[in-house]
Subunit: 139 residues, 6 copies
Amino acid sequence: MSNTSNKSEIAKDGVSLRYEQGLAKLTEIDGQAGHKVIDSLAGICPDLARYVIEYPFGDIYQREGLDLKTRELITVAALTALGNCQPQLNVHIHGALNVGCTREEIVEAILQMSVYAGFPAALNGMFVAKEVFAEVTTN
Amino acid sequence: MSNTSNKSEIAKDGVSLRYEQGLAKLTEIDGQAGHKVIDSLAGICPDLARYVIEYPFGDIYQREGLDLKTRELITVAALTALGNCQPQLNVHIHGALNVGCTREEIVEAILQMSVYAGFPAALNGMFVAKEVFAEVTTN
Amino acid sequence: MSNTSNKSEIAKDGVSLRYEQGLAKLTEIDGQAGHKVIDSLAGICPDLARYVIEYPFGDIYQREGLDLKTRELITVAALTALGNCQPQLNVHIHGALNVGCTREEIVEAILQMSVYAGFPAALNGMFVAKEVFAEVTTN
Amino acid sequence: MSNTSNKSEIAKDGVSLRYEQGLAKLTEIDGQAGHKVIDSLAGICPDLARYVIEYPFGDIYQREGLDLKTRELITVAALTALGNCQPQLNVHIHGALNVGCTREEIVEAILQMSVYAGFPAALNGMFVAKEVFAEVTTN
Amino acid sequence: MSNTSNKSEIAKDGVSLRYEQGLAKLTEIDGQAGHKVIDSLAGICPDLARYVIEYPFGDIYQREGLDLKTRELITVAALTALGNCQPQLNVHIHGALNVGCTREEIVEAILQMSVYAGFPAALNGMFVAKEVFAEVTTN
Amino acid sequence: MSNTSNKSEIAKDGVSLRYEQGLAKLTEIDGQAGHKVIDSLAGICPDLARYVIEYPFGDIYQREGLDLKTRELITVAALTALGNCQPQLNVHIHGALNVGCTREEIVEAILQMSVYAGFPAALNGMFVAKEVFAEVTTN
């Protein structure tokens, strides 16, 4: 879908096209880990779940200009640099693997953050990757 | 150069191979903007300049696993997310263009940060890109 | 508009209702300062401008649960705490005044950040407020 | 107590008025959760506990200009945006409920941070609120 | 003054002892740069100026346990790491020189932050030091 | 070792002098805690472990200009201010004790961060110190 299209059309079931496309993209990238996040918001703020599906996945991740692999590596790097989003970093390292990034590419993106955000940020990001790779190996 | 090689060998002039390779890589990616940073440190901390050449450029940017375009997009995204490294973001947007990233790719990487670091971070990163593209156009 | 409504309907001119309502809300809160930001993105990333109008102003600021005065004070406080969004803090201090916050309320919100983000963050936020109040006084 | 009063007077027992008023305010806002924090510092840095009582609670939270509900919502929003103060966010969500904020108001303040600090910050803040609401429900 | 003393006594002129001692300490460490900050708050929030004098300078910098040189180096390092408090970093580099730190010590503290906060933070802190040393040299 | 020496020489076993000196310095400062970090990286990114040994410990901590006690206090303060590096803060509080800092000095460095990074950062850093002191006491 091009970036300039108007996504106001209502899809089936009265759900917006943004929501529907977002849900499909969330499943494509984050699989089970992403749906867990959505479900965990049901009892506290279902609207946040809806916005997560609509904006990041319905608007941003649909865009052309960067392929999904690059988008996921960029997200993994940024979350590592920020240093306080470890649950999301876990989800996105899974996501990066799901869209075809290799473990080496993910490790390199995290390692590079030692330059821009310091060694603690890179170490802590690397430990999340270690966790994710172990989860994937045992499944 | 593979990631596992030992770069302790002394190149010509008594300068380490890390330094020499780093300087070459800095020139390849950041051209003039990078050398300006190095020079600006001469009167205050030449060792910081040396470490910048040796670690980011002599060690990290030499590594295999990610190509230079991806490395630069990752850096642009991370610096946008961090929000307080605008001078370095300027240098690296120039760097991204130098290694072959398109303006569209750079804009997409910055825009994506609206999800992970918020709209202010994305806006401020976008204004730096606007500045850089104007500088490039007039030169 | 309630929080649970579906805003997929297309308003006149093919523009989504989210965009139209967002633009009206942006004008109501940020007046000229907000439109300046939108215009400044025209040559670099008009989609970011569109998303700013659609998500913060078309989705979030339309919501019930908190009145606009409280929403603006919360934003002023958060931007002060973050410490690296001074352009947006300037816009939102103007916004807080526009929706009826007093200067005293704005100053108190910024001052309180000395506890949670430290004295530098509070000082730097206070200097932005000083700037804004001077701009408002001369106009 | 007005903002301009001099609080140097010594109250009974040789304790300063700031300390005494601060302790009362801490109890009013944070109840048990706040006192737990104070007690946990006894063996490591009782002076930090004293300063917490004196500055945030003895000086800032005594001030006029913003009511306690607004002050607590501002703090909840700022701590959500900062993203690395989850223990304090837990205490202040309890505090916000104690001073009369509704769950809806708290959720809205956290949700709004998705705009200014990104979706990870809002998600992580929302999970703390979920925790607090569950604690409150079971008590 | 020991850390455990009660500083509630009212000094001459109805000003608290904390304020009086704080003002003396501010003058000792920050000289003119510190007083400029205080004056700049007069028209916007004189209470923030009072709290700056009372808490950081009246409580913290009076404490035993670390000498003033170490305290200033710690502050210079932390402000460099935070990356968004450059006005305060400028004031404190002046302060570090005032209390007897050498330029070498200040440069080393900033350089060390390349490890913990990344090279951008260290570079930007180093540029502030360069500025300060130039100001000091011309005066 | 002076700051200006060239450390390109290859030490015995084909390992660079930077690596060898770094390993010795890591052992001197961080003892067991530091080696645990290095080992934990073996299966995910041994190169990050190598860079940690080479840059922070082989380059920075070898430098003259600041003694090890001051360097460790600076690191403890910066990590406290950053607020999202608690594993590294734990390691460096151990390190500070190992190089001769007293508990009082460490507590004072953390407490001072209440001014520059806010009370939550200081509280969370203080809780890490409490943990470390308990670990040390039981061993």
